[in-house]
């Protein structure tokens, strides 16, 4: 019932955040703090990897929307990748899929 946030570099040279564990109202503030700081610069490029996010609800979606709004204002990019079928379903139901950029990494299969 915890969330580990690993920070690294994405293939495109931008920032990469890998979220491992459960993203709910308890763990979301930690992500919000890290993520909003990363997107708070002009032209920020941030990728969120959700391959190992085994639980997410509306609080996680709220954080992603907050980051998306900020990144748009800063003329940057926010990419979400590695959606599990569960998270994908949640994104589809809430309409988030139509708003943010989602990348399919499973097809490349490098890990």
């Amino acid at each position: 019932m915890n969330l580990n946030i690993l920070q690294g570099k994405a293939k495109d040279g931008g920032e990469l955040l890998i979220l491992k564990g459960e993203l709910d109202a308890y763990t979301a503030p930690k992500l919000k703090e890290t993520l909003l700081e990363l997107v708070d610069i002009e032209g920020a490029s941030v990728t969120l990897d959700l391959s190992d996010t085994n639980y997410m609800d509306s609080t996680g979606i709220g954080v992603i929307i907050a980051a998306y709004k900020k990144v748009c204002k800063n003329n940057g990019t926010l990419i979400v990748q590695g959606l599990t079928p569960r998270v994908e379903r949640l994104f589809d139901i809430t309409g988030l899929s139509d708003i943010i950029t989602i990348e399919d990494i499973n097809k490349e299969e490098t890990r």
Partner: protein, 165 residues
């Protein structure tokens, strides 16, 4: 004879760190009842949303509130009640909140909250609210009766039935 309904109750402090505990319990209960994987995941999200709402909105910062959760295990469905004794608010206003994100909305209009109730309503089969004192959300998920385990029961029944009399 099998009882028609079992009840499991727990009360947690209205703190975000216990949402996961209830989620785990819900997962165990739903698994015990034989729900398929996707339904269990739906139930986990719905119950987490209900408790998140209670944790965030029911009590003020300095109040030590509680959230009561009751699982009622019925033959054909699971009924979950999540109740707080905090500030109650207009149920109609809550119901109006239940909508997905609007991709055509401007950036400023995109809301970071308010999706919780929409998700509960979408993921569960039936949702009712009661605001007598605080807010109680009662959500129901039906069991798909003709799936694996019950099918096995039925076969057994037909075996037990005396034949050729």
């Amino acid at each position: 004879m099998k009882p028609t309904s079992d009840t499991i109750e727990l009360t947690i402090p209205a703190k975000a760190e216990y949402i996961g505990v209830v989620r785990l319990t819900a997962s165990g209960v739903a698994n015990r009842m034989g729900y398929p994987y996707d339904a269990i995941e739906d139930i986990k999200v719905a119950i987490s949303e209900a408790i998140t709402n209670a944790v965030n909105h029911a009590y003020s910062e300095d109040e030590e509130g509680e959230v009561a959760v009751r699982f009622q295990l019925l033959p054909d469905r699971l009924e979950i009640m999540v109740a707080d004794k905090g500030r109650s608010f207009n149920v109609n206003a809550i119901l109006e909140e239940m909508k997905p994100l609007d991709a055509s909305a401007s950036l400023e209009e995109l809301s970071e909250g308010g999706l919780g109730l929409f998700l509960i309503d979408t993921l569960m089969d039936q949702v009712t609210f009661n605001n007598d004192s605080g807010i109680a959300v009662i959500m129901t998920k039906f069991l798909q009766r003709d799936e694996v385990e019950l099918h096995a029961d039925r076969i057994k029944q037909s075996y037990d039935r005396p034949v050729g009399r």
